[in-house]
């Protein structure tokens, strides 16, 4: 499989003083049409990593290459689905899906047409003139997915795309994304804290360590789709990766306790309060 997106030694420091080391020399490849999930302990910087791939943020060192060329800023062929959906509340469903094409200067009639087509693909035909507030979370994310697909990207990035949706709806949506992936053959990169979700969707799972995040392991998932969460192989992989993550979680606690550096402690506390729900969910769902 030829590489579509390549990360080579991507590092990220925060603060002018470069004191906060978020990502450390992260390298992995994403093949054409491959579905890659990125998992890691809460607050390890996996969303930052996705933003760097998206060109929304730049690495302190190292680079991200798309079709062999380095990425500087967002690329027209790389699209994104957002955690809180990222819809414009003042735009109707149709207008939201049109947005990317509108920014590309596609004439109105034409972009209306493709927006309708992608709305149909995510099962929202008939909802064109509604406003986001009239839709449920799952439906809003469908709009987000349609918007991401409407610009006909080669790579679709998903930042915790299913985590703000109730579990049953999320499961249905995951199945549909699997189907869209199969049909369109696009490349997908998903960041998630939900381990089952990562395994269910991906061709390979990149496991990151706690901060500074390094690639701890890359786990290929060769199970047949659609995937059965109760399948013994699935369960095994799940347990293996969960074990890796738990190890990291413990490492984090120990390191912070030993070092006792006030700044780090503070950041860690912030993460704990901020991601408390998330960590709980990770433990429960996984």
């Amino acid at each position: 499989m030829e590489n579509h997106v390549e990360l080579s030694k991507v590092s990220k420091f925060y603060n002018a003083s470069k004191r906060l080391h978020a990502l450390h020399e992260i390298s992995f490849n994403v093949g054409h049409g491959e579905f890659v999930s990125i998992v890691g302990p809460s607050g390890c910087g996996k969303s930052t990593l996705l933003k760097i791939i998206a060109g929304l943020d730049s690495p302190t060192s190292g680079e991200v290459r798309f079709r062999g060329g380095p990425i500087h800023g967002p690329h027209q062929k790389i699209s994104m689905v957002f955690q809180a959906f990222g819809l414009f509340p003042w735009r109707t469903v149709l207008e939201n899906v049109e947005y990317g094409l509108e920014m590309q200067g596609v004439p109105k009639q034409e972009r209306r047409g493709s927006a309708r087509e992608y709305l149909g693909m995510v099962g929202l035909a008939g909802y064109e003139d509604m406003y986001p507030k009239q839709l449920s979370g799952g439906m809003r994310q469908r709009v987000g997915i349609a918007r991401a697909l409407a610009v006909e990207p080669e790579v679709v990035l998903m930042d915790e795309a299913f985590s703000a949706i109730d579990e049953v709806t999320a499961e249905v949506l995951r199945e549909e994304v699997t189907e869209i992936h199969r049909q369109t053959g696009k490349t997908f990169v998903l960041v998630t804290h939900n381990l089952s979700e990562a395994i269910e969707l991906a061709d390979k799972v990149v496991v990151l360590s706690s901060r500074p995040a390094k690639v701890k392991k890359i786990v290929p998932i060769s199970l047949d789709r659609p995937r059965d969460r109760t399948h013994s192989m699935f369960v095994h992989m799940h347990m293996d990766i969960l074990h890796l993550l738990k190890e990291e979680l413990e490492n984090t606690f120990i390191r912070h306790k030993l070092k006792g550096i006030p700044e780090l402690q503070e950041i860690h506390d912030m993460e704990l309060t901020h991601n408390n729900e998330e960590s709980k969910k990770t433990l429960i769902t996984t």
Binding site: L56, P74, Q83, A84, G86, F88, W90, K133
Partner: protein, 268 residues
């Protein structure tokens, strides 16, 4: 007729009166009419001397005559134009400043404390200086109205800008929106609910300031008209002018700001 049926009818009738849109939207007419009636009665029976308060009916008569009088209408128009120019000036200065303050923290820390300082001063305290520099004309009135309107617009737009989720900026970046489209197609609609309430407040403040200036500086306008008539004893004319201002203020408020807000209510 069964009791249940009667109850049901009574219930539906109360619903019609109190929650049916048709009637409920005009319920305010009742207390208003009651107030006018009390006014009419206390002046008719001489409870309040007519030198202090003319009868409501005489005010209505003068009002109806006044609104056919060109100078009267011109005075209102003059005040209104000063107000609108002042608000436009305030808006065009406050919007960009507030937007930058809302998005750039250092700029906010540099500018906002100073704006708060000026905002704490009573606006009218600048008036004598302005009149000294510019004379008692439209220029002074426009500037005063813009000063009064500046603060609510600045603070609401700043707050609106700050409350735009970071994610929406990322959306504009991902879909390669240029700076101009980001502002017109994302920031402006996103802050519009805040901005509209700021404008509405600015409009209220500006009316007060305009009338106060006209009275204080005897500048031609409806405020001066009220002052002149009241001091010369024609209270009914004064009240007629107040009534006219109230109508202009309310109609603009309902028609302009009401329609802006009904747009935001559709999606917000």
């Amino acid at each position: 007729m069964s009791v249940e049926k009667q109850k049901a009818i009574a219930l539906s009738m109360t619903e019609m009166v109190f929650s049916g849109n048709r009637f409920a939207n005009y319920l305010w007419i009742f207390p208003l009419a009651f107030g006018f009636a009390v006014w009419e009665i206390v002046t008719r029976i001489g409870l309040v001397p007519s030198s202090n308060l003319p009868t409501f009916s005489s005010v209505l008569v003068v009002f109806l005559a006044s609104i056919q009088n060109q100078t009267f209408l011109l005075r209102i128009g003059y005040s209104f134009m000063n107000l609108v120019c002042g608000l436009l000036l305030a808006f065009s200065i406050a919007l960009p400043l507030a937007f930058v303050a809302g998005s750039k923290n250092n700029f906010d820390l540099t500018l906002t404390p100073i704006i708060m300082l000026f905002g704490a001063l009573p606006d009218l305290s600048f008036l004598p200086l302005l009149v000294l520099w510019l004379g008692p004309g439209s220029a002074a009135a426009v500037i005063m109205a813009s000063v009064a309107g500046f603060f609510p617009i600045y603070f609401t737009v700043r707050e609106g800008t700050r409350s735009i989720p970071r994610e929406l900026f990322e959306v504009t970046s991902i879909f390669k929106s240029d700076r101009f489209s980001t502002f017109t197609k994302m920031v402006l609609p996103a802050i519009s609910p805040h901005m509209f309430s700021g404008l509405r407040l600015a409009y209220d403040f500006a009316w007060e300031i305009i009338i106060a200036i006209e009275i204080a500086t005897r500048m031609a306008g409806i405020g001066d008209f009220i002052d002149g008539n009241v001091s010369s004893g024609s209270l009914a004319s004064g009240f007629a002018a107040i009534l006219a201002i109230a109508i202009v203020a309310i109609v603009v408020d309902r028609a302009f700001f009401g329609s802006l807000e009904s747009w935001t209510k559709r999606w917000a």
